[in-house]
Amino acid sequence: VTGLRKYAQADRTRRCEICRTALAGEHRHLVALDERELRCVCRPCGMLFDPAGAGGGRLRSVPERYLSGGPIGDLDWDRLQIPVLPVFLFENSDLGRVVACYPSPNGVTESMLDLDEWTALRDRHPLLGLPVPDVEAIFVARAAAIEAYLVPIDVCFAVAGMVRLNWRGPDGGETVRRGMAELLADLRTKSRKAFTLKE
């Protein structure tokens, strides 16, 4: 594309939403606390808004760590009375409490959460106490057992988008099932153990 034509067409290159440089493939995300939205940013801007970075404030960089704890026993989990899995839980610093959300065909839906039971579960599973508020979440899904991972919160947005776009029929259908299985496999390989278990 030459001359004025390139300015006459909409700019489709994805750009860093802070400094406007073009984003090549992999990039980072900021959580904009005021809008509760993700912003795509380049690596240098991502660093600027790291918790220890210079930016701070209402834009927070989403960390890139993945952690796993042990499985959560069914009985333990059932006391939370969350009817749906997978679910992700994160601390919303504006509300000052932990929020439980599950992906659904209608987008992200909040589930009621008994905070006392959550605190009790967190005491038995220290992984649940590790996420940085607003930017990290605990993702809980059921495979053979109930598995919990500490994930960057953009992963939860991605899952929510995948479910919303691909949901078919009463149970989500093949694409959603496959997407979930792939995500779990991905989390298992990416995450490292948060704690070495003591006998």
Partner: protein, 149 residues
């Protein structure tokens, strides 16, 4: 008289200067500003051509500046092959066939001097800027008649 080509070159040059300036973000902002203005005028031209209809718009294309502005915004009433043929014939190039498929404009012209194909390609490219690729083939005329001097 300015043309879209000259204006485009001037803008590219200014943006390149900004990009190598100490504040590269300024280049991004300037590019977006350019986009914003060009697209606003493009939207306006789209309204105007829609109200005029293809015939009246085609008449306006007799003015080279108007024609090239409409090309910038993909608003030219004639299809690419017709435009390419007309432009080449204006330059006294004999055109056998012009096709436009899969983003490629293919032109068949009569064999001319050494620079004929290159010149034809530049003309065709300018007449069909939306094409990703312009291919010029020179075809021998069916009958070759050599002049004996």
């Amino acid at each position: 008289v300015t043309t879209p080509e000259l204006a485009g070159e001037r803008i590219d040059k200014l943006l390149a200067e900004l990009r190598s300036s100490p504040d590269p973000q300024a280049a991004g902002a300037a590019e977006e500003l350019t986009r914003c203005l060009v697209q606003l005028y493009g939207d306006g031209l789209a309204r105007i051509t829609a109200m005029l209809g293809d015939l009246r718009t085609a008449e306006l294309c007799a003015d080279p500046l108007v024609e090239s502005l409409l090309l910038v915004h993909d608003l030219h009433p004639l299809a690419a092959p017709e435009r390419v043929r007309a432009a080449l014939e204006r330059h006294d190039i004999t055109v056998y066939e012009v096709s436009h498929t899969d983003d490629v404009v293919r032109v068949q012209i009569a064999a001319g001097g050494c620079s004929a194909a290159g010149r034809a390609e530049a003309i065709a490219r300018a007449a069909a800027p939306e094409a990703g690729q312009v291919v010029v083939e020179t075809a021998r005329p069916l009958l070759q008649i050599a002049l004996r001097r």
